[in-house]
Amino acid sequence: MLRKLIIAFISALLCTFALTLTVFAEETYVYDEAELFSKYELSALESQLAEVSQATGWKVIVLTTNDIGDDKSDYGATDYADMYFETRYGQETDGILYMINNDTKYDRISTSGVCIQYFTDYRIERVFDYVWDDMLNEKYFNAMIGFVTEVKLYYNRGIDGNQYTTDDYSYGDDGEIVYSDNPISLFESFVAVLPFFIFVMIVISIIMYASYKNVLKGYRMKHVVSANPYIMPDSVVLSVKQDSFVREYTTRTRVSSSSSGHSSGHSSSHRSSGGGHHGGGGRHR
């Protein structure tokens, strides 16, 4: 009896283990349709993505493709990435997908759920910046390791304090893109433009104050004294005129760049053809 119980327990344990293995085996993070990665790279990348997915609770996915379907436009590429994620993980799942698009060369990062708030337009651009040299050099594995690094970085940084989301477009019943007429509230619009508005007003105030002072001074004589007119023509004689090279050096300074006119807290979002809510951004190679 005891023996049977032990066998049953061990069998159950083995079944559970096998089931667990099956579940883990089904969890795929890299969809290498374009076959850009070697087996070793694939394994290593899967491992990295699994780790970051577990740490964040998100689905962090890499997709490579040579064919995005009939619609070769940027909208088509965007929807392909969105729907790829949506059909596998659902509309409400938190996640981020990097699509290496070797069809139209319009790479796309698609975000879903809470990742829309984490990955603002500014951060999406920074992720692209980080991986872009490798992408251009076709070092896809290195680029995707960089992608994982950036996902970890922004997960740890949390949602930007100034983050806000605008819904840019969705797909209508006939499949046509419908642009949002009034995607955000007036208050949100006000908050969005406030920093720019304050900056412009400060600049204008400074210019106006300077002009005001200048007008006042305009009626006061300006002191323009120079003794140069009293130098006799041709009397200037240079006995020493020497320019000696001393040294040369190079300095490197980091510059911040933003391709978006919005503030760093802005997340663009849209509706996929499946109706899911997605954020993200793209860049042409």
Binding site: D129, W132, D133, N182, I184, L186, E188, S189, F190, A192, V193, F196, F197, V200, M201, I204, S205, M208, S211, Y212, V215, L216, G218, Y219, R220, M221, K222, H223, V224, V225, S226, A227, N228, P229, Y230, I231, M232, S235, V236, V237, L238, S239, V240, K241, Q242, D243, S244, F245, V246, R247, E248, Y249, T250, T251, R252, T253, R254, V255, S256, S257
Partner: protein, 360 residues
């Protein structure tokens, strides 16, 4: 001291120097005389020994001195009226008969200028410049424009010190050229550094500084330069019809200001030879102005001072070239209102643009 007048030999009316014709005119019989003719007609007016023995003072003279203060009271040779001046006035006109008088003693000895530039512009030209200048300023009070301030404009010979100097200078500088390229998220700046030396000399001729404490230095410097090619040997007759001052600031007192101007001009001239660099930083500069040569001259200036609501303003025009400078009152209230309205307009405009940007 002596008071002289230049009387017309034909009708005995006063002769005045006319800037337009550069001749001496009688307003009554319309006679006209050249400078050479004037010197021949009035040779005694130019002769003033350096050491004039002071006449024995009478009790009456002492009373006059007490009233006028240091020999500042004169009798008009034309009408006999008393003319009171301050200590530096060298030429003026009688308050009663408006005859021009020259106080010759004021310009004798060390006070006698070596050269003079006679007026080349007339009072009408100076008035026109002033009116045009006033008219172009929108914020000048209307009641200021309408009052007869401009009529008080006077032609004055201002005493000037002119300094000649050979400036020797040396500049040591660090100059850099740099070029930037963008690589990813980085700006790469390539800089080359050079050690630059310049040594040389130049000659300054006639750097001016006014020797009158009444004239504002800034105002007088702003109407420079004068064209020294038109300097004439000094003659008392040029002063007839205008006011004139003698110096009360010595050349030793103006020397530091003149040397400063010379150094700055010398440096800017040398800096012109350091070209092709993106930045130049002067590490060391040495100047030697040597011994300055001096000339004492009278230069022509149209001058107008006016008060408006308790504040003093002034206008000066170079009597030779017509270059002018000065101050004018402004309607602060109007200016403030206008700027508030413009600011409000821009604020609303940008509010609108901001709103549209948010909605788009």
């Amino acid at each position: 001291m002596e008071v002289v007048q230049y009387k017309c030999p034909n009708c005995s009316a006063s002769l005045e120097f006319d800037a337009v014709t550069q001749r001496f005119h009688c307003a009554y019989c319309l006679s006209s005389f050249s400078h050479e003719e004037m010197v021949q007609l009035f040779p005694h007016n130019e002769e003033h020994p350096l050491d004039v023995e002071e006449p024995q003072k009478t009790t009456e003279d002492e009373k006059l001195e007490e009233f006028g203060g240091s020999n500042n009271l004169y009798l008009c040779p034309n009408c006999g009226a008393s003319i009171m001046t301050d200590e530096t006035t060298a030429a003026t006109s009688c308050y009663y008969c408006h005859s021009p008088v020259v106080l010759t003693g004021r310009l004798s000895g060390e006070y006698r200028p070596k050269y003079v530039i006679p007026f080349k512009t007339c009072k009408e030209q100076a008035l026109e410049k002033f009116r045009v200048w006033c008219g172009a300023k929108r914020f000048v009070p209307k009641d200021f424009k309408s009052i007869e301030n401009a009529e008080k404009i006077e032609g004055i010979y201002i005493p000037y010190w002119l300094a000649d100097c050979r400036l020797k200078l040396r500049l040591d500088a660090t100059a850099k050229t740099s070029s930037s390229t963008r690589s990813g998220d980085y700006n790469i700046t390539h800089t080359k550094e050079y050690s630059v030396q310049r040594e040389g000399e130049m000659f300054f001729m006639g750097v001016p500084c006014d020797g009158s404490s009444k004239a504002s230095n800034m105002l007088m410097e702003n109407i420079e330069p004068f064209d020294y090619k038109e300097l004439e040997d000094f003659s008392m007759s040029y002063l007839s019809g205008h006011l004139a001052e003698k110096f009360d600031i010595s050349k030793e007192m103006v020397q530091p200001d003149i040397e400063k101007r010379i150094r700055e001009a010398g440096k800017s001239e040398i800096m012109k030879t350091i070209a092709g660099y993106s930045s130049v930083n002067v590490d060391n500069e040495q100047y030697d102005t040597g011994r300055l040569g001096w000339q004492y001259v009278l230069l022509p200036v149209w001058f107008l001072s006016y008060s408006y609501k308790g504040k003093e303003y002034c206008f000066a025009m170079n009597g030779q070239t017509g270059k002018f400078s000065g101050d004018l009152p402004v309607r602060i209230g109007l200016l403030r209102t206008l700027f508030i309205l413009i600011g409000l307009g821009i604020f609303l405009l940008f509010g609108l643009i901001g709103g549209l940007m948010a909605l788009c």
